[in-house]
């Protein structure tokens, strides 16, 4: 906070481990190395963490440059805090499989829902398409 008192700035977050959630739903964890005025982020030793239920898997990604507009939220990870988590880490293949199943199930329910609404003459636009209009 020594740079700009009374404000929130990413300057103080540099070189710290962060978790960032992107608009497409991805979760990235890495060391924040650089920022700019648009909150574009440069992540180092990035890991994409996929969560499905109680399981999670890490995919190492290296260096990421995230365009600022795609960030939903960003939070610092306190490395000193003890990591008491109920989540279970699994291999990448397993978690990808889990994710695929999850997506599939989701689509099924979505399809059924749309059909039901359609029968009743209603339609709910998909939220992810709203940005494009």
């Amino acid at each position: 906070m020594n740079y700009v008192p009374g404000t929130a700035s990413l300057i103080d977050d540099i070189d710290k481990k962060h978790l960032v959630l992107l608009r497409d739903g991805r979760t990235l964890i890495g060391y924040l190395r650089s920022i700019d005025q648009f909150a574009n982020l440069v992540f180092h030793q990035t890991v994409e963490r996929i969560h499905v239920g109680k399981k999670f898997g890490d995919i190492p990604r290296g260096i990421f440059i995230v365009r600022g507009e795609n960030v939903v939220l960003l939070g610092e990870i306190d490395l000193d805090k003890p990591c008491d988590t109920v989540l279970q880490q699994v291999s990448i293949e397993e978690i990808l499989e889990e994710q695929r199943l999850q997506q599939q199930a989701k689509q099924e329910t979505e399809k059924v829902k749309m059909q039901v609404l359609k029968d009743r003459g209603l339609s709910i636009p998909k939220a992810d398409n709203l940005d494009e209009y």
């Binding site: 740079y3 700009v4 008192p5 009374g6 700035s9 300057i11 070189d15 060391y31 190395r33 440069v42």
Partner: protein, 480 residues
């Protein structure tokens, strides 16, 4: 005789005329500079009429001109509008295109037309042309006349002949008409394009007329300024510039003899040569040098791997002396040193007692950003060691401080600029109120316990007055 009188009675007629004449000359000169010799002049209407007549006549005569030798009658019948003889020198490259078109139109045959057609041009058929260069329309008409073989031959010969420029005698037919034109001065200066061997066209055209005009002697207009330094070279970054220069322009330079390893503090630059066989030596050399230099070795290797045969061995002189001012423009802190072939001991000698890091930071602008980063990192880490915070148990992060202080300040500056406001109570009501409350609270507390003020965010205040735009107004103008 009545002369044109200006409304301004102060100047005399003579002055006026002179002024006008001068202006015309200037204009002509500008014109020529811009468009080349042979730009449009007055009397184009007359020329046009003449050309139109020519055109009609040629339209009838065209089929006859198909054969190479039969160009005689039409040309002689051209008579008065024998503009070609007094044709100005070609002024536009368009003439080339037109020629090509005409030649193509005629079937694209490129016969080496006999010389006779060219010589048929009556030299004496000098039309009473204005002593000026023909207009573009004139030339076009002439070209469209067809004179197929001549056109073809002209273009053919033009492509064949070497378009050298040299002092060429102006064809006699033209001289009489060209005496005072500004073109003449240029021609005399620069010379005409060489006349091709085939001689003249049937209309007495000089083939040199078909050639683009010689460049006028005026400075080149419109061309980009000569850049000694490629665009995009960052200023005040002599090292990077030098590196860029070397990477993009790998010129052969000579290596200094390895003997000269005793380096006085400020040595002149020693260029480096291309030595493919030596390339292998670099990675294998273990040297007892300080880590600072080692990083330069790594960087040099990086650079070397980029160029195919170019070897840049950059060797920074880690200065034991403070460097207050900026280093020499193209040198990083010291000079280039031959990297290979030198025995370690001299290096070791110099690097022996590494100089203690001075409290004042040197001017590092000339250093490579990576080098600078490492320096600052070391500085900060040493500074951090002294003031070890409670939570700082992490090992030193080699990738930290990728963002320099300047960059952080720059981003902060931008963010602060975005906070500018003319009326903070309007734009940032809650913060202002909150801060006021906090201050009041602190006042109360201070009375009891003397606490420090919390830092307040001071947003840049934009003066209200300066931002109203007033368009420039002139006295007596419309709308004032």
């Amino acid at each position: 005789m009545f002369r044109f009188q200006s409304l301004d009675d102060d100047c005399t007629l003579e002055e006026e005329d002179d002024g006008l004449v001068e202006e015309e000359d200037e204009i002509d000169q500008f014109n020529d500079d811009t468009f080349g010799a042979g730009a449009i002049d007055d009397d184009w209407q007359e020329e046009h009429k003449r050309l139109a007549e020519l055109d009609e006549r040629d339209g009838a005569a065209q089929p006859e001109e198909a054969e190479p030798g039969g160009a005689e009658p039409p040309s002689s019948s051209a008579g008065p509008p024998s503009l070609p003889s007094s044709l100005g020198f070609p002024r536009l490259p368009l003439t080339f295109l037109l020629e090509m078109q005409t030649s193509e139109r005629e079937g694209g045959s490129w016969p080496t037309a006999a010389a006779p057609p060219q010589q048929q041009r009556p030299p004496g058929a000098a039309a009473p042309l204005a002593p000026s260069v023909l207009s573009y329309q004139q030339q076009q008409h002439l070209l469209h006349r067809g004179s197929a073989p001549s056109a073809q031959m002209n273009s053919h010969s033009i492509w064949d002949s070497s378009l050298g420029f040299g002092p060429v005698s102006v064809p006699p037919a033209l001289v009489t008409h060209m005496e005072d034109s500004p073109l003449m001065s240029i021609i005399k200066e620069v010379g005409l394009p060489k006349r091709p061997l085939q001689g003249r066209t049937e209309e007495g055209w000089d083939l040199s007329e078909r050639v683009p005009p010689p460049r006028s002697s005026s400075p080149v207009i419109g061309s980009p300024p000569v850049r000694a330094v490629p665009i995009g070279t960052p200023p005040k970054q002599p090292m990077s510039h030098a590196l860029n220069h070397q990477i993009h322009h790998p010129t052969a330079v000579h290596v200094r003899a390895p003997v000269q390893h005793r380096y006085p503090p400020s040595l002149p630059r020693a260029p480096v040569t291309q030595h493919p066989p030596q390339h292998s030596q670099l990675p294998a050399v273990p040297r007892p040098v300080s880590p600072r230099v080692l990083s330069q070795i790594q960087r040099a290797q990086l650079l070397n791997s980029r160029g195919r045969t170019l070897i840049i061995s950059v060797y920074f002189q880690v200065a034991g002396f403070p460097r207050g001012g900026p280093g020499p423009p193209l040198l990083p802190g010291g000079g280039f040193r031959p990297f290979f072939g030198g025995p370690p001991p001299p290096h070791g000698h110099r690097m022996g007692p590494p100089p203690p890091i001075p409290p004042v930071r040197h001017n590092t602008t000339h250093l490579h950003p990576q080098h600078r980063r490492l320096l600052t990192q070391r500085l900060q880490s040493r500074g951090g060691d002294r003031v070890r915070s409670a939570g700082d148990r992490r090992p030193r992060d080699p990738y930290s401080n990728l963002m320099s202080q300047k960059e952080k300040e720059w981003v902060t500056k931008i963010q602060m600029m975005q906070l500018q406001s003319t009326d903070p109570y309007l734009d940032d009501y809650y913060y202002q109120n909150y801060y006021e409350k906090m201050e009041k609270r602190q006042e109360k507390e201070r009375d009891s316990s003397r606490k420090e003020h919390a830092t307040k965010l001071i947003t840049p205040q934009v003066a209200k007055v300066e931002h109203t735009y007033r368009p420039v107004q002139f006295a007596g103008s419309l709308g004032s």
